[in-house]
């Protein structure tokens, strides 16, 4: 690996290793992580109730296909988001081409588009009965016109790639920009071509960021239910719901879900192994702002590719939503939409603050004490992102119901649930689900801080708290805000946990989408979907401004 190879220093002086304060930090982070991991433990505990009949049935019938489909999806979407995300990040970070300034931020917009909405629009437009194929048949006068089937493996992979590539794009782009030109120019001075500089210098250095983005995209893929349902593509998640809703067997569903976690665990382990002991911090924070200017067909191709991605992932779906809204869905617009909006944003903001605070705590402790123990803890606590939302929601609910029982053991049974019917249960579920979203970017931001900075601070007598508040925080502020905005967008799109755990009256825009789509009224769902996309644009626009300013 051609990355700056340095000896590995812990970011803490050895003197504090056994100090009471150090133990406090680790204990605090440990407890928090454990609490967040409790619903996951509850899911795992389903194995205490073995379901041999269901497993035999699955093994005899659909299990092979499920494993195959899930693997195909991981590889397909994984390659897709990395190629699209890294490619476009490199393009917009390093080159000048027509529309570059526009595409730079427009490429982040699909973040605001829920995957299930994208899926529905894609199928609606491109299926046999959709306007594209119908139009082509009418135009060409051919009854049996062949058209690539959208409800297919390729279709699912394409849609999920378009929905999730912005994670990789954003993180990779930030990494490329922060590497600065100097490092690349050194590479080129030493005789590397642009491609060589990309492959041998920029790419390896951006690897933690790319890996963090790809991990988010893949966990989201594994947990996805809405989009694969539109395609009727069978994955582990659909099998989980089939066992739960079809076979009325929640323990079997939870067991299937825990296998999903095994997938994630293996993937994360593989990623760690691949990353190895290399270090990723650059000596130069930032060089001058200069991009290689593309000309001729290269410039046209660059603009074309960027336009294609933005068009397919954002412009066309929004256009379709607009058409549906104009075609009648607008009639559902009433004064309640203000409340939906308010609830959506309030829940998102509250969850984002808590999630980022916890993510920061864990990332800091992980950085200060880079032991296998803290790493395992951090990874365990962030697994919730790969669990289907409903399963996780039930896990969180069980935990709160149990807490309720425990707190009110001696009050009469009809006193009612206290905690489990309040906002706390819902916010907790959001934290469990989206901790990975805040932790990933923070962790990779931490990785780019040179250990020597912490060592210097420590040797000047700074405590861990001072190190965090006065050294790390100012450096991490962009990363923190990005993490918070990402969580905000995610929470606003979240559906299953909100459905199950919301207090009475706390309806959000995502819930309105559910109300319409649960009876198949997708066109009417266009109004809340469009509203959600528009609200989501706000944090996304902030994210974009941040990355442009950084």
């Amino acid at each position: 690996m051609s990355v700056a190879a340095q000896t590995r220093f812990p970011a803490t002086g050895s003197g504090t290793w056994l100090s009471a304060r150090g133990r406090g930090w680790r204990a605090g982070a440990g407890l928090t992580a454990l609490l967040v991991a409790l619903p996951i433990v509850l899911v795992l505990s389903a194995w205490l109730e073995p379901q041999p009949e269901v497993w035999r049935h699955l093994a005899d019938t659909v299990l092979g296909e499920l494993l195959r489909n899930t693997a195909v999806l991981i590889v397909g979407v994984g390659l897709g988001v990395v190629i699209v995300g890294v490619g476009l990040a490199w393009l917009t970070a390093m080159y000048e081409f027509p529309g570059r300034a526009l595409f730079e931020w427009a490429l982040v917009l699909p973040l605001a588009m829920p995957a299930y909405v994208l899926a529905f629009v894609a199928v609606g437009l491109l299926d046999f009965s959709g306007p594209v194929q119908t139009g082509l048949r009418a135009l060409l006068g051919i009854e049996a016109l062949w058209f690539p089937p959208i409800r297919s493996e390729g279709g699912v992979i394409a849609v999920l790639t378009l929905a999730f590539y912005p994670y990789v794009y954003m993180l990779a782009r930030a990494a490329f920009l922060s590497q600065g030109q100097a490092m690349l120019e050194s590479g080129r001075v030493l005789g590397l071509s642009t491609w060589g500089a990309f492959r041998r210098v920029a790419l390896p250095m951006a690897r933690p960021a790319i890996a963090a983005g790809a991990a988010l995209a893949l966990m989201e893929t594994l947990a996805d239910f809405g989009a694969v349902t539109v395609f009727n593509y069978d994955t582990f998640t659909t099998a989980i719901y089939k066992a739960w809703f079809g076979l009325f067997n929640l323990p079997a569903a939870a067991q299937l879900a825990s296998l999903l976690l095994l997938f994630v665990g293996l993937a994360l382990y593989g990623e760690r192994r691949a990353r190895g002991q290399a270090r990723y911090h650059a000596a130069v924070r930032r060089g001058r702002e200069s991009r290689y200017r593309l000309r001729g067909w290269r410039a046209a191709a660059a603009s074309g590719v960027a336009a294609l991605v933005v068009g397919a992932a954002f412009v066309v779906p929004v256009g379709q939503l607009l058409v549906w809204v104009a075609g009648g869905a607008w009639r559902d617009l009433d004064s309640r939409y203000f409340d939906f909006l308010l609830h959506t944003v309030t829940l998102g903001a509250a969850a984002a603050s808590i999630t980022v605070a916890i993510g920061l705590l864990i990332a800091h402790v992980r950085r200060a004490w880079p032991t296998p123990g803290t790493r395992a803890l951090a990874q365990f606590a962030t697994l919730g992102y790969a669990l289907p939302g409903s399963v996780l929601a039930v896990g969180s609910m069980l935990l709160f119901v149990w807490l309720d029982r425990w707190l009110s053991a001696d009050t009469p049974a009809d006193a009612g649930a206290v905690l489990s019917s309040g906002l706390a249960a819902l916010l907790f579920a959001y934290v469990v689900r989206f901790l990975a979203v805040s932790y990933g970017p923070l962790d990779s931001a931490f990785e780019r801080i040179k250990p020597s900075i912490a060592q210097a601070a420590r040797s000047l007598g700074a405590s861990q708290r001072e190190l965090l508040w006065r050294v790390y925080l100012p450096i991490l502020r962009p990363g923190l805000l990005s993490a918070a905005l990402l969580v905000l967008v995610e929470v606003m799109k979240e559906m299953p946990a909100t459905l199950l755990l919301r207090p009475f009256g706390w309806d959000t825009l995502a819930l309105r989408i559910f109300e319409m789509t649960s009876e198949g009224e997708w066109e009417r769902a266009a109004l809340p979907a469009l509203s959600l996309v528009l609200v989501g644009l706000l944090p996304v626009a902030l994210l974009v401004r941040r990355s442009a300013a950084s």
Partner: protein
């Protein structure tokens, strides 16, 4: 700045944790899998008529049931509303529904559309019937669900996914009537006749049929009604199968009173009202379904599709045999 943010967050979390909603002492609390726009008008009408406020949350049946079970005696819910019989059967089996002895409910709702043990009650009928492309198929060619397995329909059949509970119930009913071996043969026949991959919903299926991708399929009537209202010109028509034997497969949207309801008497009253002549049209017509109360006529738009003989086997069977049906469809390769 960041400190205040964290402080704010913690305060909010604390407040949220404490701010458990104070349950309206007098009102009813409903967990509903029937979505808001179909159920809220009834709540509003009942509140207007009786002054009883109603609070509700909507979700899918599975999570609602898990919540009811977990909450146990502490649940705030008085009623559970679903859009199929299978989930009510499961709720009853889980012990979260109370037995109700009501002459009014028994008089308003035919016996095959409610729990034999009186723990849940159908409130509207959802018929799952055949739909065909009227340009390519004449109704004389159609006869029964079983017939769709005949090779003459090869490459001409459209089906919705087996993951939807409506198809699970249909298959469960076939098992109840014909036995497992015979049903599996039929389902395999269906799969062999498919014109294209199964669809995620009934509406998409019918749109594909209208566009010429297939000739015949199985759908719930209200999806057909909804689509035809929007695009009356589509070459689609309904057919009532099995009229010479057991009749059309029907499911229900229904409800039960929870075992730990805080307002059981009021909840029963509300159920009785829902089954009454004055509320039945409000319940069924909004979604173009059929009323359960035989004294209430369906919406004229729905009545125009003709009357039909319905399968009178108890809908509880669709719950009891659902797991079997799901496994059977897995075996038959019905996705």
């Amino acid at each position: 700045m960041f400190k205040t943010k964290i402080g704010l967050a913690l305060t909010m979390f604390g407040l949220a944790a404490m701010a458990a909603p104070v349950l309206a002492a007098e009102g009813l609390v409903v967990y509903s899998a029937r979505n808001e726009q179909l159920i809220k008008p009834l709540f509003d009408a009942y509140t207007k008529e009786t002054g009883t406020p109603i609070q509700f949350i909507t979700d899918k049946e599975g999570p609602l049931l898990a919540r009811l079970k977990a909450e146990g005696a502490k649940t705030a819910a008085d009623l559970l509303i679903t859009v199929d019989a299978g989930n009510l059967w499961q709720a009853a089996r889980d012990g979260v529904l109370a037995k109700i002895d009501s002459k009014i409910l028994n008089a308003n709702i035919p016996a095959h559309l409610r729990d034999p043990d009186d723990r849940w009650f159908g409130l509207s009928i959802r018929a799952r019937t055949l739909v065909y492309n009227s340009k390519r198929v004449s109704p004389a060619q159609l006869s029964s669900y079983e017939d769709l397995a005949d090779p003459k329909w090869k490459g001409r059949l459209c089906l919705r996914t087996s993951k939807k509970v409506y198809n699970q119930s249909l298959t469960a009913m076939l098992i109840a009537h014909l036995g497992e071996a015979q049903t599996e043969k039929i389902v395999r026949g269906w799969v062999a006749n498919l014109a294209t991959d199964v669809f995620a919903d009934d509406t998409k299926l019918m749109e594909a049929m209208a566009a010429g991708q297939c000739d015949v399929g199985i759908v719930n009537t209200y999806y057909y009604g909804r689509l035809m209202k929007k695009q009356p010109g589509l070459p689609l028509a309904l057919f009532w199968p099995n009229q010479n034997d057991r009749g059309v497969h029907v499911n229900i949207s229904g409800a039960g009173v929870t075992a730990h309801a805080k307002h059981p008497a009021q909840a029963v009253k509300f159920l009785e009202w829902l089954s009454s002549e004055q509320a039945q049209n409000l319940f069924a017509d909004r979604d173009l379904e059929y009323p359960v109360n035989p004294r209430v006529k369906p919406h004229p738009y729905v009545a125009a599709w003709g009357s039909f003989k319905q399968d009178t086997i108890n809908v509880a069977q669709s719950g009891a045999l659902q797991a079997k049906a799901v496994m059977l469809m897995d075996r038959a390769g019905y996705k």
